[in-house]
C-alpha cells in the first residue's frame, strides 16, 4: 500500500471509480450506473464477510442475515411513514441518516446475539449453525404478514432522504455508495494492520496457541463478527434504497452463498479482493446470459448457473487465490 506502484494503482482505481457515471453516460449506457451501485454495495458486504472469513477464519454461512436485517430496518421504517402507523410507539422515518444508523445498530445487535451463540462452537458446527440462524431469520421475516410476508415490503415513498443529496438520482446514489465503500476500504486497511487485526489473523492461524498465550479468543472473534454484521447491515440498508424494495430473499441462504463466492472469486484474505469479486460476480450475472444468447446457446441464457456452478468448483479446486491471487502470481508478487 505504501510503495509507489501501489499508490499509483490505488489513485488510478479511485479516479476510475469516480468517473464511472460520466463514462457510462458518454457511452449511453446510463442504466449500468445502477449495476455500479450494486457492485459498491455488494463489495461492502463481501468485504465485511472477508473480515471474519478471510482474516478471522470464521466460515460464516449466514452473512446474508445481517444484510437482510439492515435492509428490513430501512424497509420497515419507510413502510410506517407511508402507512402512517407507528412501530412500538415510534413513528417511521424516511431520513437516511437515522434509518441507516438504526440499520447498522440493529444488525450489529443481531450479530452480537447470534455470534455469541455460534462462537461457542467452531469448525463445521459453526458453518451449520450460522446457516441455520440465518434461515431462522429468513422464516421470521416470511412469517411477518404485516410486512408482506413472502412478498416483502415495497418502499412506496422511494429512497430515503438525505440533506443536500438527492438519492433518487442514480448518479448521486452511486457516489453515496462509493463513499461508503472507499471509507470502509480505508478503515479496513487500518483494521487489519492494527493490534486487533493482528489478533484476528493470529486466531485464524492457530487458535490453540492464542489461548495458550493468554488471549480470550472468543471475545475478539465476536468483536469482529459484530463489526462484520454492522457493515453488512449498512450494505443491506443501501441495497434496500437501491431497489426500493425489501424481501426475505435478501436473507435467503443462497445470498450468503453468493457473498462467499464473491470473496473467493476475488481473493480471500486480501483487502481489495472481495470488491473485485463482487464486480466479477455481478457482471457475470448480468452478462453471462447475454453472452450465451449471442454465441448461439440460447438454452443457457436463462440457465447460466449451470455453467457458473462448475466454474465455482474449478475455482475452488484449482485457483484458490481468486482473481487477485492469480493476478499477483502473474506479476510475481508475494501476497501476504
Amino acid at each position: 500500500m505504501v510503495n509507489k506502484r501501489n499508490l499509483v494503482f490505488v489513485t488510478a482505481a479511485v479516479l476510475a471509480a469516480i468517473l464511472v457515471p460520466q463514462v457510462l453516460t458518454m457511452l449511453g449506457e446510463e442504466y449500468l450506473i445502477g449495476t455500479a451501485s450494486r457492485i459498491a454495495i455488494y463489495g461492502l458486504a463481501a468485504m465485511s464477510l472477508n473480515l471474519i472469513l478471510g482474516y478471522g477464519g470464521m466460515v460464516s454461512f449466514g452473512h446474508a442475515a445481517y444484510f437482510g436485517v439492515g435492509a428490513y430496518v430501512v424497509g420497515i421504517l419507510s413502510f410506517h411513514v407511508f402507512d402512517g402507523s407507528s412501530i412500538m410507539g415510534f413513528q417511521g422515518t424516511d431520513a437516511a441518516v437515522l434509518s441507516w444508523l438504526l440499520a447498522i445498530v440493529i444488525s450489529a445487535l443481531v450479530a452480537f446475539v447470534l455470534g455469541a451463540l455460534s462462537l461457542r462452537t467452531s469448525g463445521v458446527y459453526f458453518i451449520m449453525i450460522t446457516l441455520a440462524f440465518a434461515q431462522m431469520l429468513y422464516f421470521l421475516f416470511v412469517s411477518m404478514e404485516r410486512y408482506g410476508g413472502d412478498d416483502g415490503v415495497i418502499m412506496y415513498n422511494g429512497r430515503n432522504s438525505l440533506p443536500m443529496v438527492d438519492l433518487s438520482d442514480d448518479t448521486s446514489f452511486y457516489y453515496v455508495c462509493l463513499t461508503f465503500l472507499l471509507a470502509f476500504l480505508l478503515l479496513f486497511v487500518l483494521l487489519v494492520r492494527s493490534r486487533f487485526g493482528k489478533v484476528l489473523q493470529a486466531c485464524r492461524q492457530n487458535e490453540t496457541r492464542m489461548r495458550a498465550l493468554g488471549c480470550n479468543v472468543r471475545r475478539y472473534k465476536l468483536a469482529a463478527f459484530v463489526i462484520a454484521g454492522a457493515v453488512a447491515g449498512l450494505a443491506g440498508a443501501l441495497n434496500a434504497n437501491h431497489a426500493e424494495y425489501v424481501s426475505p430473499d435478501y436473507l435467503h441462504w443462497t445470498k450468503s452463498g453468493d457473498l462467499m463466492i464473491m470473496v473467493i472469486l476475488g481473493g480471500i484474505g486480501t483487502i481489495i479482493g472481495p470488491v473485485i469479486g463482487a464486480a466479477a460476480f455481478l457482471l457475470l450475472e448480468d452478462f453471462l446470459p447475454l453472452l450465451f444468447d449471442a454465441t448461439g446457446f440460447p438454452t443457457f441464457k436463462e440457465h447460466w448457473r449451470i455453467v457458473f456452478g462448475p466454474l465455482l468448483i474449478l475455482v475452488v479446486l484449482f485457483a484458490r487465490g481468486g482473481l487477485v491471487g492469480t493476478f499477483s502470481a502473474m506479476r510475481g508478487d508475494h501476497e501476504r
Binding site: 487500518l190 483494521l191 494492520r193 492494527s194 493490534r195 486487533f196 487485526g197 493482528k198 489478533v199 489473523q201 493470529a202 492461524q205 492457530n206 490453540t208 496457541r209 492464542m210 489461548r211 495458550a212 498465550l213 493468554g214 488471549c215 480470550n216 479468543v217 475478539y220 468483536a223 501476504r336
Partner: protein, 254 residues
Amino acid sequence: MSAEPLLRIDGLYKSFGALAASNDVCIDIAPGEIHAVIGPNGAGKTTLVAQICGQLQPDAGTVHFDGRDITLLQQDKRPALGLVRSFQITSIFPDFTALENVAMAVQLNAGHSFHFFADAGRDTSLNEPAMGYLKTVGLQASAGTPAFALAHGQQRQLELAMALALKPKMLVLDEPMAGMGPDETAHVISLLNELKGSVTMLLVEHDMDAVFALADRISVLVYGKIIATGLPEEIRNNAAVREAYLGSEDDADA
C-alpha cells in the same frame, strides 16, 4: 524445600474411560527450581501438562499457583498470572514472520488488543521487546522470515521466545528439545541454564542428557502415577525407577 511452592499439584486425578492418565499426582515446585517430569511414552505427561495449563480439567485434585487455586481457571487467564507453556508439537503462527510471532506475544502481554487503528507492525513498543526475545533465543537473524519457512529447530526456539515474551514466573515446557539436532539442543540447554533461578520451570523431556543437565529435582511418572521424586542422583539410583523406566531406555526413546 524451605520456600512456599510456586506450583502445588495435589491429588490430581484424570481418567479417560478405564484408563487413569493421572492417578493421584502430587508435585510441589519451589520458586526458581527446574523440576523435570520424565516417564515412558503414554505415562500421562502431556495429560498432566494439559491440566496444569487448563486445557483439560481434572476429575479430582487441585492445582495451586502462586498461592492461588487455579484448578478450574480458564486456560487463557493463566498466562496473566505468570504460568506459561510451550507445546510438544510446534505451535506457532505460520504466516507471520518470526518477529510478528513474538510481537503477538508481547502485545497480548501488554493488555487487551482492542486497538483498531494504529499500525501494530510499526509499533516499536511491540517490536523492540520482541527483537530482544529473538536475540535471547538466537533467532535475530531470521526476524523477517515467515515462521513456516524456519527450520524445525528454529521454530522450537521461536516458540520459546514467545513463551518468554509473556514474562513468565513459571514455564511449563513440554518436550522443548523434541526434534532438535545436537547443536540446537546444546543451545537450548545453555539458554535454559541462563534463565535458571529467574524463571521456575516444569520440564517434560525425553532427552535424559538435557534432564540431568538442567533439573534440580526429577519426578518419574509411570502409568499416571508418580513413582519417585528426588534429586537427580537419587532418581538415577532408584531401583524402582531403573526397573520401570531407565532400564528400558531404548523403548522410552522410541
